[in-house]
Amino acid sequence: MSYESKRHFPGDARLIAENLACIRGGRVVFEGLDFGVAGGEALIVTGRNGAGKSSLLRQIAGLVDIAEGRIALEGGDTELTLPEQTHYVGHLDALKAAMSVRETALFWSGYLGGGGIDDALERLDLGDLVDLPVAYLSAGQRRRLALARLLLAPRPVWLLDEPTVALDRASVARLVVLMEAHLADGGIIVAATHQDLGLGGARSLVLGAPQGGFADLHQDASA
């Protein structure tokens, strides 16, 4: 399957969350959260440390239990679960020190059912590093390799948890270009970040302090 072929996602796809709640370590992180992101739209999630940004992204990726409410990709591929339609790039790089850059890319492309890797590596300026073992990469180079996964297999929903960490200015610009291209293809992006990406026409979601949560928790504990 060639790389270009499946690039265009159904424009009418829509990622929605209804009355969403998240409980971690026995504490309510957030609740009653509602949002919808249409194809071609980006949602920038902000909030202070501990507000629940990562938790939200992991819920969408199916990596954290949904305490209450629902998340769905309306108009998405009905054969696939939501997690199977998402790319999740989190705080952890998911890289193996003992594998070379090329091997890493080849594995993920194969595992995620993608195509060629050269284009993806080029677009993240990893072209010169393909033969290096990951152990030799600097923090930013590792990060770029993690981000390259986004391009290895086309998936409509991108979940980016502080994607710019450790990236130099040039790489940040490069990333923004990729994100805009993805949106132009009708893709959906949910990104948690502390620094402004300067992404055109992005909606924003601010997560608040999880104070309220404790009260409720006590109530339903007593109930």
């Binding site: 992991r58 890289l95 193996k96 003992a98 595992y111 995620l112």
Partner: protein, 225 residues
């Protein structure tokens, strides 16, 4: 999906060979473990021969335990497991793939090396057949059952201790039948006991091939979310 499975097996095997030394290392390991036994219990050849099968099984158990705890944990710690879960491959198959490649790099080498080790322990050459057969049948069980323990240990917050206590009991039947099937019944071996325990060993192995991945997947889900 089959492709994803293959990719995963290939990757894990390659990693095991690179970072863990893989097959060669495993064989060498068994060699050393086996050769410290005589130093412990003395160079009495008859005695050595009689406990040879038991020692080989214990060596295998050790190498399994030494490598299993990192089976999922490495992937968990660097976040790979998260991504493996968002892939199209069901978690059960992920677990199976990992257990399988683990067997390739620990179980299989031992089976191959067993005769050589038998030689060191002065095992009669006619006992080699049963021994190798028993190991071929039994070793997969160690990898697939071990996967459960590995999955339980994956997010070591409190569960670590409990989990390690859980793995070994799983292994006991394999060891018992394995030693029996390898003709290690010693003096008191009931004639035909070998064949019988070989069957039982096979049964355990088959069960573990299914039980292992399913239980591992469940444990992983429980740990990740």
């Amino acid at each position: 999906m089959m492709r994803a499975f293959h990719m995963l097996v290939a990757r894990d095997t390659r990693l095991a060979i690179r970072v863990g030394g893989g097959a060669g290392m495993a064989v060498f390991f068994f060699l050393t473990v086996v050769s410290i036994v005589p130093l412990g219990i003395g160079p009495n050849l008859k005695l050595l021969a009689s406990i040879a099968p038991g020692m080989l099984w214990v060596a295998l158990l050790l190498s399994a335990l030494l490598t299993l705890d990192r089976l999922f944990q490495a992937d968990y710690e660097d976040g790979s497991l998260d991504l493996l879960m968002t892939g199209a491959l069901p978690l059960e198959f992920v677990a199976a793939a990992k257990a399988f490649s683990h067997w390739l790099t620990t179980g299989l080498p031992l089976v191959v090396a067993a005769p050589l080790l038998g030689l060191l322990l002065n095992l009669d050459t006619e006992d080699f057949g049963p021994l190798v057969l028993a190991m071929l049948v039994g070793t997969p069980a160690l990898s697939f059952l071990g996967g459960i323990g590995a999955a339980l240990t994956v997010s070591i917050r409190r569960g670590g201790l409990l989990a390690s206590l859980l793995v070994i009991p799983f292994y006991i039947p394999v060891l018992i039948f394995g030693v029996g099937a390898a003709g290690g019944g010693g003096v008191s071996a009931v004639p035909g006991a070998g064949g019988q325990s070989l069957l039982l060993l096979g049964a355990v192995s088959l069960v573990s091939l299914v039980l292992g991945p399913v239980a591992s997947a469940a444990a992983l889900r429980a740990n990740l979310r």
